[in-house]
Each structure stands twice: as structure tokens, then as C-alpha cells.
Amino acid sequence: MADYTNVLEHDRLKEKLEEQEYIINMGPQHPSTHGVLRLVLSLKGEIVKSIQPHCGYIHRGIEKMCEKLTYQQIIHLTDRLDYLSAHMNNEAVCLCVEKALDVEVPERVKYIRTILDELNRLASHELWWCSFGMDLGALTVFFYGLRDREKILDIFEESTGGRLLQSYNCPGGLMNDVHPDFQKKVKEFISYFRKKLPEYDELLSGNVILMERTKGIGLLSLEDAISFGVTGPSGRASGFACDVRKHYPYSAYNKVDFREVIYTEGDTFHRYKARIDEMWESMKIIEQLIDNIPDGDYSAKMKPVIRLPEGEYYQRVESSRGEFGVYIISDGNKTPYRIKFRSPNFSNLSALNIIAKDFKIADLIAIGGSLDLVIPDIDR
């Protein structure tokens, strides 16, 4: 087994060398792979001829670990998949368990979950904006994004106790009620961020260098986007209407009015634009919900030991990078028989080879930045 693959690899490399291609290892320690992703590039001059992703540097076997944990305990592991959309990942597991048990969670929980989802999305997109700027060499961008993200993290910290990894959801509801200041703080943040977001456009979006570097670069056609399962803002920039919030609404998304941001160009700039627009939409969603949080319990009554009825359950949510899915196979025990996380980044990564092929190495960085890959989510 082992010998076979090594021979294969060796042959492939030899072939490449004979073709006079320049093979270069990008990662696992590289400033713009945003984690421990290793891409083996073969270059012809500056032009990328093929990309071989090598994953697994941060593989922790979360799916295997989950098979030994109860449903409440699984939640803190889902935080550590896509750590930038921790709340959405938590929610996916909770919704899946609630669906399996036929538990109706209180309205208040649904509202709070949705607001926190969107705050998390804002925080995630802000961080993406920073790192995208940094990938392109605009270093100041990084600090402006982090400055604004800090305010969201403070809101999280006040209510949930965690900044990045909140573990705030639990099957049936929330760990505790939101902080009394929650509404005030969120409203303050929204009015603050409405002033700051145009600044993002002034600084980066309108910049002629950014336009030149991203327009028409890294094209992903609609067919390819669907075929590769590229979801989230990256997929929607190619015209793939894949917003789970819109098409399979969960929590309180059926009560709010928002636009599914869709562009048809499918280049790096529109992936960028889709995320910027999503930030506006997220703010719109939060504004619709924040004043109407109904009173009530913060959690439904749940048994201390949760046993899912035998069967298979699938729940999808829209994380900040695309469709996050949880597939639980239960054999009636208190631990899942098999749990599988459909991670958006994994599918998005699979399309990297065709997106970035025949573009320059600098474009690969921009494309990678616009796909917004989070490596722990790929490796799980």
C-alpha cells in the first residue's frame, strides 16, 4: 500500500521535472495558507500549472472522538472545526439533536441563536477581510478589521463567556440566558459598524490595485461551483443560490427579510464583494430581530441523558463559509454511532485546483484568500 503510493508520487514528480516545471511547496507553514495547509504547486515561471493540496496536518479525528461522547459533549468539539463560525457549528448539532427528538425550542432561543449566528458571521467576515487584505499586502486592513471584530467578541464574551469558541448552544436551547445588556450592546455595535463598513470600501474595495488584482481572476463557473459543491459566499459569487438560510430556513430565519447575495461573475472580486454585501445583510437581519426577542425560557426541558431514537438525521446550516452539515447515525445509545460533519471548506478546497490553475502565484494567494479557507474545518 505504502510503497505503491510512494512510487506513484515519485513518478509524478519525475514527470513534472522532465517537463521543466518548478515545484514549490506552499505550506504547511506559510503566511497565506492561513493555517497548516500544504499546497504543492508546479509553476512555469510565475504561472501555477497545478495545485496538489495535502491536508491532514491538523487532523484530530473529531468524528472518531465524537463516537465516544454524548451529544452535549460533542458540541464543544464542533467549536473547534471551523473556529470562526463556532456558534453556527454548535447550532447545527443542536438542531440535529432537537430534530431527532422532536423538541420544539422556545422562540426566544431561536431569536438569540439567529442573532448570534449573524454576529458570528460578521466577526468571521471581518476577520476574512483582514486576512484577505493582508494576503494582498495591505497590512493596515488587518488592524481595522480586528478592531471592529473585537467589539463583537466582547458581546460574545459578555453573554457566553467565550470569545472565539463560545460553546453556547446545548441541545434544547442555550447554556444560559443572554446578558441583560446584550440588546443594548448589539445595537451600539450595529450603529458603530454601519459607519465603519463604508470605510472598508474606501480603503480596499474601491482601490484600483485591488480591482486589478481580483477582477477576472480565479474564475469559477456556475457548473463548476455546483459540481465542486462550492457553497457560501464563494459559491454565491458564481451564481449558485445555495444559502441554507434562505432555502431551508432554520431558527428564526423564516421571520426575517434579507437578500441572498448572488453575483454571476464568479471571480475573486465578486467573492470579495459577496462577503462585503453579506455583512450588510447580516446587520439587516440583526436589526430586525434585536428589538423583538420574545420573553421566555432560554432552554427547553431536556432529559439529562439524551438518547436519540435509532435512525439517521441530517441537519444543514449556513456557516460563514458555506453549508455546514451534521449527519448523525444513531443506534439508540447516548453516543452517536457515526457522526459526520459536512464541512464547507473541504468542498471549497477541492475546487482550488481548477480555480487557480493557469493564474499567477500572486493570484493563487488572492484566490485562496477569497475562498476563505479555515484549515481545521478541512482536516477535522
Binding site: G56, S227, F240, K340, S347, S350
Partner: protein, 151 residues
Amino acid sequence: MTNEQLKEKILTIEPSVVITENKQVLYVNIAKEKLFFLAKKLKETEELFFDYLVNITGVDRQKSMEVVYHLDSSKYRHLIVLKTDTADRENPAIDSVCSIWRTAEFHEREVFDFFGIRFNNHPDMRRLFLDDDWQGYPLRKDYVDDKIVQR
């Protein structure tokens, strides 16, 4: 399309499937020989149009290995779950669906990595996450590793 219609349609394409239903989702069980044929039909039939492969999951069913495909349609927004069983546990192999949904290339490598299920006609059947010289397939239920800490 409602589940009833879907069921009917799929049965006309391939009468040998076993369809079960569970809370709004159809589970379509198909023999592994027919998998590729049905998958191709599911994507190409105009009324079904399952063009979006959400997820491939490998499951160790103790006696056999199972591969589960979640399929969605970007046009009609209906979801089905396609399941196939590989009776052979020691050396399981089924047909790859790479040529139908290109994202399968990575998902199948993942399944191979964790369960040892080989996919025929896959362009690059290597381990994805683990090292090439890793022994065994860790997500199988009978996988033993003295480094695993028992809870």
C-alpha cells in the same frame, strides 16, 4: 417535487432500489453495481436534476461498509440520501462518482482514508489526511491503536 413523486420517479429509473422514508427525507438504497448508473441518471434526468453532491459519508456497519451520498438539487431544492452497501468488509470497493460530481474526488479520498473503501475509476486514490504509511483505517469500529486514550 414531493417525496412521493421522487419515489415514483426513482423507481421507474431503477426498480431494484429500496426506498425508506424518515422525517421528510428519502433514503434510497441501491446495490453497489447499480450505483454509478443510478447516480448518473439522478443527475441527468431533467425532473430530478440532483446536481449538487452535498456529502459523502462512509459508515462501518460492522458486517459491511456503507457509503452514504447526500444529494441536493440546485434547481428544485429536494434532498435525497443515496446509500449503498459493500458486502466485502476486508477489501471493499465501489464505483467512483467523480465523473458525475467533481467534488467527490476529495470526499472519496476521505472515505478511503478512514474506511479503506476503494473507489474504482478514481483518478487519484491516495490517502488524504493521514500519512501514506498509516496502518489501518481509523474510523472503522474495529480499529485498534494503543495510542488511543480510552475514556
